[in-house]
């Protein structure tokens, strides 16, 4: 998918663990793992809002558009 989730980068910058973030934003660690690994098909605005609030960042810090390699 051309949209990449840089959640692990932001977590490292904020020195926060995945389970801590999951607890703050109120989702399961399994769902957070789906989000981190890029397996998620969509993201709710409410989830994005909660993540941005917890990590004190902007949506653009978490989501990034990366052009797909046409050969792949």
């Amino acid at each position: 998918m051309p949209i990449e989730v840089n959640l692990d980068v932001m977590l490292a910058k904020r020195d926060m663990k995945s389970n801590e973030l999951a607890e703050i934003i109120g989702i399961t660690t399994a769902n957070l793992s789906i989000l981190k690994t890029g397996k998620a098909k969509a993201m709710r605005f409410s989830t994005l809002e909660a993540i941005c609030e917890a990590l004190d960042c902007q949506p653009g810090d978490i989501l990034e558009f990366v052009e797909e390699d046409p050969i792949k």
Binding site: I27, N31, L32, I34, L35, K39, A40, K41, A42, M43, R44, T47
Partner: protein, 169 residues
């Protein structure tokens, strides 16, 4: 859920009481018509007893009818197998979609081949050409088959929507 339990019980009952003995009866009949072809002359075909000397035609007709009946029983078996997925609360399993499509194809085949066989049967045993376009069981079979195929497509869409929903965080 109670409706599903009733349906499953009914299907199991029909499978045990009708389908399993029918499998055996058809098999015995098929073996018998090749060992002792005189049996064929004692069976009523389309309401008339066939003339002597038409054994090969009757044998071919019997084998085709038996194959159709086996196909019908197999589609019923696939339906019974599919119900197990519903019982296990897995209605959007890949196997369910595949089974519905298989049942649909088989029922459509049964409807078309059945109509052709009856047409040929009337032509051979009654020496009549009759095409009935009304409310016939073959037409219903064809509709049912197409309905199962549509159901399969619908389940495919539903499975996709379910997966998408599950992967929305």
């Amino acid at each position: 859920m109670r409706k599903l339990i009733i349906l499953k019980s009914l299907v199991d009952f029909v499978w045990i009481v009708v389908c399993l003995p029918l499998l055996l009866v058809i098999l015995i009949f098929l073996v018998l018509i090749f060992i002792n072809p005189e049996v064929l002359n004692r069976v009523s075909w389309m309401g008339s007893i066939p003339q002597e000397g038409s054994e090969i035609v009757l044998q071919i007709y019997s084998v085709s009818t038996a194959a159709m009946m086996y196909l019908g029983i197999y589609s019923f078996y696939v339906f019974r197998k599919t119900l197990r997925y519903f019982m296990n609360i897995k209605p959007f399993h890949e196997e369910v979609i595949k089974n519905f499509n298989t049942i649909g194809i088989m029922l459509c085949g049964l409807g078309i081949v059945g109509a052709i066989l009856v047409f040929i049967g009337r032509l051979v045993f009654e020496t009549k050409i009759r095409i009935s376009l009304g409310f016939s069981p073959y037409l219903i079979l064809l509709c049912l088959g197409l309905f199962f195929m549509v159901l399969s497509e619908t389940f495919k869409v539903a499975k996709h929507a379910k997966e998408e929903n599950e992967l929305t965080i």
